[in-house]
Symmetry: C2
Subunit: 234 residues, 2 copies
DNA sequence: GCAAAAGTGTTAGATCTACACCCATGC
DNA sequence: GCATGGGTGTAGATCTAACACTTTTGC
C-alpha cells in the first residue's frame, strides 16, 4: 500500500524569464545568483516555493522582490523536472515567462538589485538548464504572440506602428511587410490613434497609438492571425 | 544567506488526463484511487515522481502501468501548485494529457486495472482538483488540435473522413460543414485514401484513409487553420 | 530639391463559407 | 425509386502577399 510518508520529497523553485522591449530589441532581465553553487554567475530570477504559497504566488513574489513590480503579465509554461538539473540536490523548477514595460521600471531594477537587461541574442551563459529555459520561453512567447495580442504588455502606454512592427519582428526573428502589417493591426480594433506624433526616428513622424483596453480584454482569447507562414515548435 | 537545506521539501506527483475516441464521442480514462484519502473514488491516472526519474519519465511509467502502453502521445501542460490541494499533505502535481488509440488498447485496460472509459461529458466527480485538471486539459487539447494535427493520435490506423469530422466536432464542441472539412483535410496532404470503404454507417460507404506519417512528422509544427472562428481560452 | 521614414493603394491569387447538388446503395 | 449518408462543385466574400506609390519634413 502506497502511503504519502514513504515517498520522496523535493525542493521546488520557480524561475522567471522576464522579457522587455526598448524599442529596438527584445531584452531579457538576468540577475547575479546570490547563493552557492554557481554564486555570482548570471541566472534567471527565481526562488524557492514557500510552504504557504502557490507556485503562482511564488513567481509573483520573486518578481516583485527583483523588480518592484506588481501585476506583471505572467504565464507558467513548463516544469523542468530532470533529477540532476541542480548539482547539489534535486530541485524541480516551475518556469514562468513575464512581460514587462521596460521603460516604466528600468530605474528601480538596475539600482536596487543586481539585475541587468541583456539583448536576447547577446545574453551571457546561464547556470544549469536556464539556457534551455530561455530558449523554450522564446518559443512559447513566439507561439502565443502569433495568436494573441500579448506583446502589448511589453510596450509603453504610447507607441507607434513602426515600434510595434519591430517588436513583432524581434520576437519572430523575421521581417514583415509594413503595408500589410499596418493594415492587419488597424483591422483588429485594438489600436487607438492619438494626435501626437513621434518624430525621434523620422522626419515625417509616426503617429502614437494607445491600446484599446476594452477590446484587448474582450478579444484576448480570439485567435488572430498575426504572423504569416507560421511554423511553431511547441 | 539562503541555503538549500533550510528550504521546505514537497511531494511531487504526475497526473495524466488520458483521452480516447471510440468513433462517436471523446472519452476519458479514469481509475479508482488506490490509497487514502478518498480511496476508491474516481481519479486521474497518477503517481509520485521517483527519485531517479524526470516528471516525463514518471508520466510514462504511470501510463505504462495503467494501460500497458509505451510510446503514447504525452504532453505536459500545467503544474498544480496550490498549497492545500491535497488534504493530507502538500503535493505539487504536474499534469499531462495523453492521446491514445482506444481500439488498440481497451482490452488490456479494462481487465488488468480498475480503469474505465467515460464519455468526457459524462464523467463522474473526481477527487481534489482533478475536475479542474480535466477542464484545463480539454481546453489545451482544443487549442493544440486547432493548430496541429494531433487528433490523429486518437484514431486507429484506418479511419474515415466522417469519423475524423466527428472527432473534431467532439473536441471543439461544435458542428462543422462537411464539404469544407473534407476539402481542408484533403488539402493538408496528411491523408492517404485507401481503396476500402467502411459501410457500417451508410449505404454508400465512406473511404478509409490512413495517415501520411512522413508528412505528419515533417509538417507537425506548421500551424494549420483547422477550425474556423477560433476562440481559445488558454 | 532630396533623402528617408511613414503610411496608403492596388491587384492577382488564395482561401473561406454557405449551400446546392450529385453519388452509391440497401431497402 | 427513394431515403440516407458520403462526397463534390461553385460563387461571392474575404483575406493575403507583394510591391508601387504618396506623404511629410529636416536638411
Amino acid at each position: 500500500m502506497i502511503e504519502y510518508a514513504s515517498q520522496p520529497h523535493y525542493l521546488v523553485a520557480v524561475d522567471c524569464i522576464v522579457f522587455g522591449f526598448d524599442g529596438e530589441s527584445l531584452k531579457l532581465l538576468l540577475v547575479k545568483r546570490g547563493l552557492e553553487p554557481e554564486i555570482n554567475k548570471w541566472s534567471l530570477i527565481g526562488g524557492f516555493v514557500g510552504p504557504e504559497e502557490s507556485t503562482d504566488d511564488a513567481a509573483n513574489r520573486v518578481l516583485k522582490k527583483n523588480t518592484g513590480l506588481d501585476g506583471i503579465y505572467l504565464e507558467q509554461f513548463k516544469v523542468y523536472g530532470q533529477p540532476n538539473r541542480d548539482p547539489i540536490e534535486r530541485i524541480l523548477s516551475v518556469a514562468y515567462f513575464a512581460l514587462i514595460d521596460i521603460n516604466k521600471y528600468s530605474a528601480q531594477l538596475n539600482n536596487d538589485f543586481q539585475a541587468e537587461w541583456f539583448p536576447v541574442n547577446e545574453k551571457p551563459e546561464l547556470i544549469f538548464d536556464h539556457n534551455t529555459m530561455v530558449s523554450d520561453a522564446r518559443k512559447r512567447l513566439r507561439y502565443k504572440a502569433a495568436l494573441h495580442p500579448i506583446l502589448f504588455e511589453l510596450l509603453p502606454k504610447k507607441f507607434t506602428l513602426p515600434q510595434l512592427q519591430t517588436l513583432f519582428e524581434e520576437v519572430n526573428d523575421t521581417k514583415m511587410d509594413t503595408g500589410n502589417f499596418n493594415r492587419k493591426m488597424n483591422s483588429t480594433g485594438l489600436l487607438v490613434r492619438l494626435d501626437e506624433k513621434d518624430k525621434s526616428s523620422s522626419k515625417k513622424g509616426a503617429y502614437y497609438f494607445k491600446l484599446n483596453h476594452k477590446k484587448y480584454r474582450s478579444d484576448f482569447h480570439l485567435v488572430l492571425n498575426l504572423m504569416p507562414n507560421l511554423r511553431l515548435d511547441i
